[in-house]
Symmetry: D3
Subunit: 336 residues, 6 copies
Amino acid sequence: MRPVITFGEIMMRLSTPGFARFSQATSFNVTYGGGEANVAVSLAYFGIPAAHVTRFPDNDLGQAATALLRQHRVGTEHIVYGGDRLGLYFLETGAIARPSKVVYDRANSAFAQLEPGMLNWEEILADAQWFHWTGITPAISAGAAQSCLEAIWVANKLGITVSADINYRKNLWQYGKKAHEIMPELVAGCDIIVSSVGDAADILQIKPIKEDADAFTSVCRQIMQQYPKIKKIVNTKRGSVSASHNTLAGMLWNGQELLQTITHDITHIIDRIGGGDAFMAGFIYGLLTYQNDQKALDFAVAASALKHTVEGDANLVTVAEVEPVMEGDSSGRLKR
Amino acid sequence: MRPVITFGEIMMRLSTPGFARFSQATSFNVTYGGGEANVAVSLAYFGIPAAHVTRFPDNDLGQAATALLRQHRVGTEHIVYGGDRLGLYFLETGAIARPSKVVYDRANSAFAQLEPGMLNWEEILADAQWFHWTGITPAISAGAAQSCLEAIWVANKLGITVSADINYRKNLWQYGKKAHEIMPELVAGCDIIVSSVGDAADILQIKPIKEDADAFTSVCRQIMQQYPKIKKIVNTKRGSVSASHNTLAGMLWNGQELLQTITHDITHIIDRIGGGDAFMAGFIYGLLTYQNDQKALDFAVAASALKHTVEGDANLVTVAEVEPVMEGDSSGRLKR
Amino acid sequence: MRPVITFGEIMMRLSTPGFARFSQATSFNVTYGGGEANVAVSLAYFGIPAAHVTRFPDNDLGQAATALLRQHRVGTEHIVYGGDRLGLYFLETGAIARPSKVVYDRANSAFAQLEPGMLNWEEILADAQWFHWTGITPAISAGAAQSCLEAIWVANKLGITVSADINYRKNLWQYGKKAHEIMPELVAGCDIIVSSVGDAADILQIKPIKEDADAFTSVCRQIMQQYPKIKKIVNTKRGSVSASHNTLAGMLWNGQELLQTITHDITHIIDRIGGGDAFMAGFIYGLLTYQNDQKALDFAVAASALKHTVEGDANLVTVAEVEPVMEGDSSGRLKR
Amino acid sequence: MRPVITFGEIMMRLSTPGFARFSQATSFNVTYGGGEANVAVSLAYFGIPAAHVTRFPDNDLGQAATALLRQHRVGTEHIVYGGDRLGLYFLETGAIARPSKVVYDRANSAFAQLEPGMLNWEEILADAQWFHWTGITPAISAGAAQSCLEAIWVANKLGITVSADINYRKNLWQYGKKAHEIMPELVAGCDIIVSSVGDAADILQIKPIKEDADAFTSVCRQIMQQYPKIKKIVNTKRGSVSASHNTLAGMLWNGQELLQTITHDITHIIDRIGGGDAFMAGFIYGLLTYQNDQKALDFAVAASALKHTVEGDANLVTVAEVEPVMEGDSSGRLKR
Amino acid sequence: MRPVITFGEIMMRLSTPGFARFSQATSFNVTYGGGEANVAVSLAYFGIPAAHVTRFPDNDLGQAATALLRQHRVGTEHIVYGGDRLGLYFLETGAIARPSKVVYDRANSAFAQLEPGMLNWEEILADAQWFHWTGITPAISAGAAQSCLEAIWVANKLGITVSADINYRKNLWQYGKKAHEIMPELVAGCDIIVSSVGDAADILQIKPIKEDADAFTSVCRQIMQQYPKIKKIVNTKRGSVSASHNTLAGMLWNGQELLQTITHDITHIIDRIGGGDAFMAGFIYGLLTYQNDQKALDFAVAASALKHTVEGDANLVTVAEVEPVMEGDSSGRLKR
Amino acid sequence: MRPVITFGEIMMRLSTPGFARFSQATSFNVTYGGGEANVAVSLAYFGIPAAHVTRFPDNDLGQAATALLRQHRVGTEHIVYGGDRLGLYFLETGAIARPSKVVYDRANSAFAQLEPGMLNWEEILADAQWFHWTGITPAISAGAAQSCLEAIWVANKLGITVSADINYRKNLWQYGKKAHEIMPELVAGCDIIVSSVGDAADILQIKPIKEDADAFTSVCRQIMQQYPKIKKIVNTKRGSVSASHNTLAGMLWNGQELLQTITHDITHIIDRIGGGDAFMAGFIYGLLTYQNDQKALDFAVAASALKHTVEGDANLVTVAEVEPVMEGDSSGRLKR
C-alpha cells in the first residue's frame, strides 16, 4: 500500500506526573507529538504505511523525537535537520473541574524556521496516496505556510488525496498574517477537511446562514460551493461534563447528507490530548478501508474515544481494538 | 483454628505502570499471584490460617514468590522446589472502553511439570479443615490434574471440606485432554463449587433445561443430582459498563433456594484481576464464620467489590473493612 | 495588604503512592501540611499575604517543612524552633468503597511542647489583618491551647478579625481536658467560625432545639446568643457516594439569613485531604474580596471542590481557576 | 536446627532516594530495620532458623514491619503488639566527603514502652539455641533494659549461648541511668561480645593498660577477668577513606590469641547501614558452622563487606555469596 | 552503504532497579537485547546500516522488542513472527564484591523454535556486506543451528564477510548436541572470529601448545591452519578488580602479528552487560572504516570501555564519543 | 547582615534520570539553576542573606523557578516578570570515560530580553553588602550586558563589594559583540574576580608573559595593573581522571602572594554541575567570615568538593558540613 504522508511540527511534550500541578513537579514525563505526526502514528498502528515530514534541530533531542516515530513504525526518511531548537510544550493534566493546562514554548523552532527549498515535495510525495496537514502549520511561520502550500500543489498535481484539520489556534498566527489571508489558498487544494462552525468563520470567513436549520450543514454547503475540490467535511462534537468526563460524537457532510454517530460517554479520562488527531487518523483509515462514509465516521469517533485511554499524544490502538467500540461494545471486558 | 489449604500455580505478574500500553512500558511492576493463592492471601488477611501448596523453580524468582506469600502470612511449608521456570503473565491495565490485556507465558512451568509423587497430600492435609482448588490446575498438565485428584481423594478420606472454582479457561487444556474428560471426577469430590451456567456446560456438559424458569437454578439442580456431594453452588454476576466501571452481584443455590445479593456499583476501578478469587475467599470466610448462607454470600460479594480497589492479584483487605460494605455502606468515608 | 496569620501544627505527611495499601508500600510520598497552614498556603495562591506560626524541631525535617511553606510563598518569619520531633501522619488513599486511612503519629511534637512564653503574639500580630486557628490546636496540649488563647486575646485587643474552624477531633484531647472545658473561652474571641451541628454539640454543648425547622440555623442562633462576637457561622455539607465520588455544598448563617450554595458533584477524586481547609481559605479570600456573603460562600465551596483535584494537603489553585467553577462552569475544558 | 532468638527495637527507615538531601526529597524509600533484627534476617538468609522478639504498635505500620520480617523468613510468633507508636529514623545517604546523616525519631515507641511482664521469656527461649541482644536495647528505657536482663537470665538458666554487640550510643540513655550502671549486669550473662576499646571504656569502665602492647587485647583480657562467662570478644576495624570508600577488617580475642582478618577494600559503597549487624550475623553463622574461630571471623568480615552492596539495613546475601569473598575472591565476576 | 546483517535471539531483559536484589524488587526495568542484536544497534549508532534477523512471538511483546530495534535505527524487515514465547532474562546488578546475577528463562522461545525454511537467507543477504553471528545461536536448538549454517553458506556463496563471536556458554547446548559437534562447520565459514583460549578448547578442541610462548597466539595459529578462511582472531582481556571496577584490553592475531591495545581502567561501572558485543561492533566499524587492524582494535576496545557507562545491553554511543577514548582521552570532561 | 545580591539568568534544568542517555529517557528530572543563582542558594545555606535578581516569563514555569529560590531561602523580591520564555538546558550525566552532555535551549529567554529600564538597581542594591555577577550575563544579550553594567556602576557608587566569575563561554556571545569589546568595562568595576589564564586571554586579552615563572601569577599581575580596583583573583584547578573522578584545588593571588590549597580527590561523583559556583559562594562566605585569604580559599575549595556529592546545580550544604572537609577530614564518617 502506498503511504500516507503527514506534515507538521513535532514538539517535545513535558508533562507533570499523574495529576501534579506545575508548582509540584520535580520531574516531567517526556514524549513527542504534534497534530499531524499523531495521525501518522495512529495510522501506523492501524497498519497503514505512513511517513512524517518535519524539521528537527540536529541534536540529541531531534534524534530522540525521530526515534520515537521510528519506534511507532512511522517513516522518518523525509525528515530534515537543522535550525535552532525543538519546540516544546508543558502539560499539566487536569481532573474534575480543573482543566488541563498547556504552556507552549515553540517559537523559533527548527520547524518554524523552515524555508521553501528545504523540502523536496516532488520526491517526498512521489509514491504517496494521501497527504495530510493541519491549520497549525501555516499559523507557525511564513516559511511553514509556504512549504505547506507547495506540498498541496504537488499533491494536487500528482492526484494524491489531500486532507486537513483546519483548526484555528488564535495564539499562533504571530508572524504578521491572519488566518483568512493565508488559509483559503491551502484549503482550496483539499479533498477532505475537518472544520467546526467556528473554524469556518475564523479561517474561511464563512458563517451559517440564519435561515438554515443546522449551522454545520449551512456552513458546509457554503464551503463546498467556494471550494469545489472539497468532497467531505467532518467534525466532532465534544461535550465536557468535567475534565475527567467527556462525551464525543462525530458528524460528516458529504455534499448530500449529514451523517452522525452515536455519542460516546468517556468517563475516567486518562489523557485527552490528541483526541482530534485520533479522529482524523480513524477517518482516513475508515475511508481507505470501508468505502462507506458512515462506517468511516463511526470508526473515527470510536478511535478518538479510545485515545482518551492512552497516555501521550498519539493513539496507540489497533483496528482490532477500535472495531468492537465502533460496533457499540464499550464494555472493556477483559479477554484472557 | 485448623488451616485452609489452597493448591495451584503462582505466576509472576508483570504489569505496565499506570495505564501504559505494552508498547510504552520501560518498566513493569512485579508481584506474584494465582487464582488459588489469591484465596489463601485473602483468607490470611481475614485472620483464617491458610497455607498454599505449589511448585516453584529453585531459583531467586521462586524464592521471591515464596517470600511474597510469607509476607502476607500464608504458610509456605508445603511448597516444593524444582523444575524449569516460573510461569508468568504480562498485564496491561485497561480503562474506559479499552479492556485490560493479558499475555500469558506459563508453559513448562515448574508447576506444570508437577508429577504425582512430588506432593505428600496425607501430610499436607493432615490437620487441615478445608481444601480449595480451581479448574485452572487440571487444565495445565496431566501431572497437575493428577496431583489435584489425589489431593481431593485424601481430603475426602479425611473429611475435609473441598471447594472449587471450576472456571473454564479455553486457552489452557493444551495437553491432549478436554475439560469434560478430566473435571467430572474432580468435581465429584467437592462440597462447594463456583460455577457459571457456561462453565457447567463446558466442563460438566450440563445445560439449563429450557422449561426451567432460571438457567442457573436449572443447572444447579442437575449438578447436584449428578454430584451428590456438592451442597452449595455459587456464582457472581458481573456487569461491565466499561473497563473502569463494573457492577457485581452474587447468587447461591444451596439445594433449597436461590439466594441473591444486592448489586454493587464499582466505578473508578483500580485493579479488577482477582475479583473472583476475592469472592471465593470471602465465601469461605463467611461460611466458616456466620453459618448463614445469605451472610456468607453477602460478605463474599462485598469482599470482591473491595478487591477492585486494591492493586495486585490478591485482596489485601480485612474483615473490618468488608463488613460495612456488606452491610450496605459503600460511602468510603475517611476515618481519622 | 496586611497579612493573614495562621497558627497550628504542621505534620509531615507520608502517603503511599497511588492507591497502594500500607502493606504494599516500599516508598512514601512526602509533603507537609496542617489544617491552618493549608489555609495560609491557599491564601498565598490567592494572592493574599499570609504567614504561618508554628513550632518545628530544630533539625533537617523542621527545615524541610519550613522550606515547603516558603516555596508556596507563606511567611515563615514567626516560626520558632526547638522541641523533640516533628509530628507526622501516614496516609493510604482510598477508592470506591475503601476509605482513605490515616495513621497519626503526632504525640510529643515540637508543637505539642509549645509553652506560653515561646511565641510573642504582640509582635507576630502587630501588622496583621486576620488571625485564623482551628479546634485541633487546643486539642493537642495545654501549652498549645494556652498559646492559642493568648493569640486570640492579642488579636481581639488589636481589633484583628479572628476566624476558627472549631472542628472536633475526638481522638485528640488526650491531655486531661475535654473540649467543652477549653474551647468556649477561645470561641468567644472569634468573629467567624466553621461549625457543624455535631461540632457545636461536642465543643459548645449546644444542640438544635427540636421545634426549630433547621438544625443548623437553630444551633447558629444559640451560638450567636452565647458568643456575641461571632458574626458568621459557616459549614460544608459533604455527601459521600464513595471514596472516589463526593458531593459538596456550603451554608452560612450570618445572623439574619441562611445562605446556601449549589451542590458540586466531585467524581474521580484525586485527594480529598484538606477540603475543609480549602473551604476556609476560600471563605477568607471571599470576604476580603467581595464584601458579599453569598459570593464569599460560593467562592469557598468552589475552591474546596477544586481541592479534590490537587495532590497533597493544600489547595494549590489560583483565583482565576476558582472563579469559573464558582460561576457554575465545572467543565474543565482545556485552554491552549 | 533450633532457632537463634534476637531481641530489640525495629524502626521504620525512611531514606531519601539515591543521594538526595533531606531538603530535596519529595519521597522516602521505606523499609524496617534494627540492629538485632538485622542479625536475624541475615541468619535467615544463611539458612539458620531465626526469630525476632520485639514490640510493635497494633496498627498498619506494626503489621508492615512484621510482614517484612516474615518475608525474609524470620519468625515473628513472639512479637507482641501494643503501645503508642513505631520508632522511626530518617536517612540521607552520603557520598565522597559528605557523610550519611541520620535523624532519629524513636522516643516513646511501643518498644520503649515495654514492661517486664509483657514477654514470656521462658516460652520464647524454650527451644532456642542462641540469644542475641545489643547495647541499644538497655539504652532505650528502663523497661527494655529490664526485659533484656530477664531474657539473659532465662537464657543462662537454659544453657543457651548469649551474644551481644555492646555498642555504646551516647545519644540514647535518656531515661536517667548511665550505661555503666546498667550494662555490666547484662554483659555478665554473655558468652560472646562485640566491643571496641571505646565501648569497653564507656560501658564497662575498662581502659587499656598503658604497658600493654595492644589496646584491644589489653581491654579483652580485663573484660574476661571481670566477666568470666565471656569466651570471645570480637570487633571490626573500619577505615573511612570517604563516605563512598571504606576498608574493613575484623579481630577476635578468644582468651588465648588475637586473630585477625585481611583488610577488605570496599569502594563504590551502596549502603553501609547495618555493616556491624552483618558482621555479627556472619560471626554467629561461622561459629555454628565451622567450629573454627579464624574461619568464623573471616566469614563475618566477608559478610559485612558484602552488606555494603545491599540497599537497606539487612544483609540479604547467601552463604554461597559470602564464601568466595571470605576465600579472597572479591572480583565480583558475572556468572551466567 | 550495504547493510551489516546480524542474526540471533533477542530476549526481554528484566532488571531490578539500581542495585536492588531480586528479593527486594517490586518492579523491573525492561529492555530487549541479545548478543547479535546489540552489535546491530551499536553499528547503527556508528552510522553503519544494520538489520537484525530473528524470530519473535506474534504478540505485544514481540512487537515491543521490534519497536526497540526500530527506535535504534536497526532494520527489522527480515524478522519473522510465530512460535510460543519471547525468551527473557532477569538481571540483578552487582557492586563491589557482589557479582551481577542473571536468571535465564529462554527455553522454548520463538527463536529456539526456528526451523530451516522459515528464513529466506538468499533474500535477506542479497544486498548485505557483512553477516555476523555468535556461538549462542547454535547452542539454542538444532533449528537455530541449522538456520545459522544456512546463512553462513549463503553468505559464503555471495562473498559476504562473515564474523562470529564463538562464545562458549556451557549452560546452553541442551538439545543433545555438544558444541564441538556443531560449531566447527559453522566456524569454517568465518572470516573473523572472537575467541578466547578457553572458547577454542571448548568449541574447537584446540588447546595451546605447551612450547609456545603465548597461549593465545598458539591457539590462533592452529585455528587458522584448520580453518583457512579465518583471517583475524580477536579477543578481549578483562580484569575484574570488583563488580564496580574492571580493566579491559584487546588483542588481535591477524596471521602475522599479535596486536594489542592499552589497558582501559573502568571504575564506577554502570552496566557491563554487552561489553563483548560492543567490542565486536567496534571492531566491525573499525575494519570497515580504518582499513588498519590496530586502529580497528583500538576503536573496538574503546567502544567496549564506553559500554560500561550505558544502561542496557546495547552500546548507545557515537563514533564522535569513541574516538577521543580510542586516542587515549578518558577524562570525561564536560563540553558545554 | 546586609544581603548579597546576585544577578543572572536562571534556566530550567531537565536531566535524564541516573545515567540514562538522551536516547533512553522517558522522563526528565527538573530543577532550576544558573551560575549566579547557584551562588545565592549556597550562600543562603551558609546563613548569609542573599537575594537573586533575574527576569522570568510571567507563567507557571517562571513561578516554579521563583518558588525553588524561595524554598532555598533566597530573596526573590527583585525578580521581574515578562518576556517570552524560560531558558532551559538538557543534561545527560556522564560516567567514567563518557562526559556529561549539555544541550542548551536558552535563546530569546525572558532574561535575554532584559532591557535597561526594567531593573531599578538603586533600589535593589540600596541595602546590599555585595554584588555578584558572571561572564555569562554580558554574553547573553546587549540588554543583559547593559543591565549588568548599570548594576556595577550603582554598586561602585554605593561602595558595595563587586565580585565576578568572568567565565568565557564561546558558544554564547551571539548578539554581535565579542567578549573583549564588552567585558573590560564591567571587569573594571570588580573587587574580586575568578579567572583562569584562558579566560584572561579570551576576555581581557591578557596573556602570561613568557619570562614569568607561573602563568597564573603573571596574568594576575597584569590584570591588577590594568584593573586597579581588583584586589583578589582566584581560580580553581580541576583535574579530570574521568567523568566519575576529578581532583580539585584552588589558588588565589591577592596582589602580594599566591595562596594555594590542598588537592581534593573527588571520586564517585554524583553531580559536578555548579562546582565553580559552589567555589564562588564558598569564597564569598569565607571572606565575609574569616577575614583571612587562606581560610577563605580553603573553605571555597572544600565547598566546591562537596558540591560534587549533591544532585542539582546548587550546593545544598551547610557551614558545619564544609568545615571538617576544609580542615582535611574527607572521611565522610556517619554521625548518629
